[in-house]
Symmetry: none
Subunit: 187 residues, 4 copies
DNA sequence: AATGAATGAGTCTTCATTCAT
DNA sequence: GATGAATGAAGACTCATTCAT
């Protein structure tokens, strides 16, 4: 494992443990097992490690979608998509939090968009297939719809797993969400 | 104006100018015109001012909804709601950013939920009225639907105004979103 | 109970809990149930409460000596004295510590001497009685001997109960001390 | 001279000049000629320098004992010991005070015991020699006796030089003390 | 006499950054 | 490239003290 990767892994762990603000470069290098000065040979600052981290998170989502969301039936597919995003968000709950937080502090917004693009493409592709099957209605701008769908699912996942008040019933909410998306999309 | 309010106002200004991380308590008290120690009589730390700020932001949204989103026609109402959230997010773009960033750093998640509750109630109320008019379909859990709607609109607003890549057409996206919500909700 | 006494009691508790350095006037007034400013009506500073505290400690020792150290046999009396100082030091272990610490920080040394005087007098008196009985040898300066005796017993008590390393056998050490004093004093 | 030693020396000077409470880390580093942050590489806080200081004080006593207290006659040896402790306490009066004050504020009591051990050993060794010469009586626990002797001498020195009321005649008191110890120890 | 909110000078402490090795 | 001791600027935070009520 090269130094850059070592630092990224150590940064993830440290951010998860302490939060971005309280994490120090000293913590990171200690965990990475390298010298204080070495960090600066690879990253100019703490926050510049964020894009690499976001990249990793999205790869997990995409891999999981490829594996688990492949039904040709739109009703089923929507449920599978919701399940994947919910599962990943739940499993990487803290990692998600820090990505959202980290991005709001960086100037890497543009990179963030680029990182998300493949996910929007994936959805758009599925929508097109659904339209060909006659299961999905026509859209003026299917890229927008893709973004809306992802936004809808992710905001629910956030409410449930990041800002969870423990009063919300996960399954009940999920069923409403799936129903909501089905009606909004289907022909 | 009491000291707590003074501090909150000053904190908003300071956070907007410098960002949360770079803002110092020293900056805030200078702007508030109070002594360094006085800050600590009201808030234990910089981030503990965030809930008050979030409160204020939500009040703006609620006031704006009351004023501008009062159609009895569900199609129109949805567009009005989207407009309000879009307008407020656009206008208070930086304030929104800092709230999202700030919350991810605090442990005030529970408070955050309490702050948002009146907004969910507002939507739920409108949904019930729509159901009585026969314009809106029945839901198992209308609170969930309210949260989904807000999440959907806000995530779009975020994508457009906070993480905007400048490639998205605002109006086109908005129209898709309105359409999306109408279909998802209506009978 | 008047305010001054209230403050003294509260100061003792606070010093015991937090140590003198870390104890704040704010802590003391909170415990005393009075206002911040009220403290300054009775004491100019935190350390100026110390003499009152020392006074209280010595009263306990003197009362205990009067009650428990009254044998007319010098051998027995010495053991009783040692027992009393040991018992009091053990029981008021923390109070003792803070008195020793507090005195080194105050400028109330003179007061401290005055406070201890009755104790030296008590010992001197007993020595004179012993000399009349023919049990005690003659001294050039019996006040000095009184101070030496007290110093010897107290330093042992400190070693045992304040700076105790848990390796010293209390009884064995006490027996040596009693024997040591008996031989040093007796005819 | 390494940094740790530099800091210790500077701390001694600073404590002597200002007292422990009023001495600041800033004072210490200025005197040591190092940066503020460097202090924290060697000591976690101001009071954690105390054991090093105590160490140094004891070395002075031991060196002085080795040099000046080496008579084979017990009567003479006792007087030499008393002289040494009196001289050192008088000369390092303020240093002594601050050690007593500092230790009472730290949690380094165990270290304190370890620091004193060589002194107790020194005395014990002399007692054994005296027993072999037939000048000293037998003890059940000679370690206890060593501690009692040191305690007796030091408490006298404290009374005379630290908490001195200026009414005590040093020589007269010393003579009584020497006599007291001779009788208590000798066969 | 009593209050307690407000003060702000003064410290402690952290930590990104450097640079001689 | 790698190191890590040293730096010192920068901020957080405390708390004795004041004073209008």
């Amino acid at each position: 494992m090269d130094k850059k990767e070592k630092i990224t892994k150590a940064a993830i762990e440290t951010f998860l443990e302490k939060g971005i603000t309280k994490a120090t470069i000293s913590d990171i290098v200690k965990k990475a097992g390298i010298a204080q000065g070495t960090f600066y040979l690879y990253f100019p600052s703490k926050l510049d490690v964020m894009p690499s981290i976001a990249q990793e998170m999205l790869q997990v989502i995409l891999a999981s979608l490829d594996e688990k969301a492949n039904s040709t039936d739109m009703d089923e597919l929507i449920e599978q998509m919701v399940d994947v995003v919910f599962d990943v968000t739940r499993e990487y709950r803290e990692l998600s939090k820090l990505i959202y937080a980290g991005l709001a502090q960086t100037t890497h917004i543009q990179e963030w968009e680029n990182i998300y693009d493949p996910l929007y493409d994936w959805i758009e592709d599925k929508l097109h297939q659904g339209q060909e099957n006659g299961q999905v209605r026509k859209f003026k701008n299917s890229k927008s719809i893709a973004k809306i769908i992802i936004g809808t699912i992710e905001s629910s996942a956030e409410q449930l797993f990041l800002y969870n008040d423990n009063h919300m019933q996960v399954n009940e909410h999920k069923n409403e969400l799936v129903q909501f998306l089905r009606i909004a999309i289907k022909k």
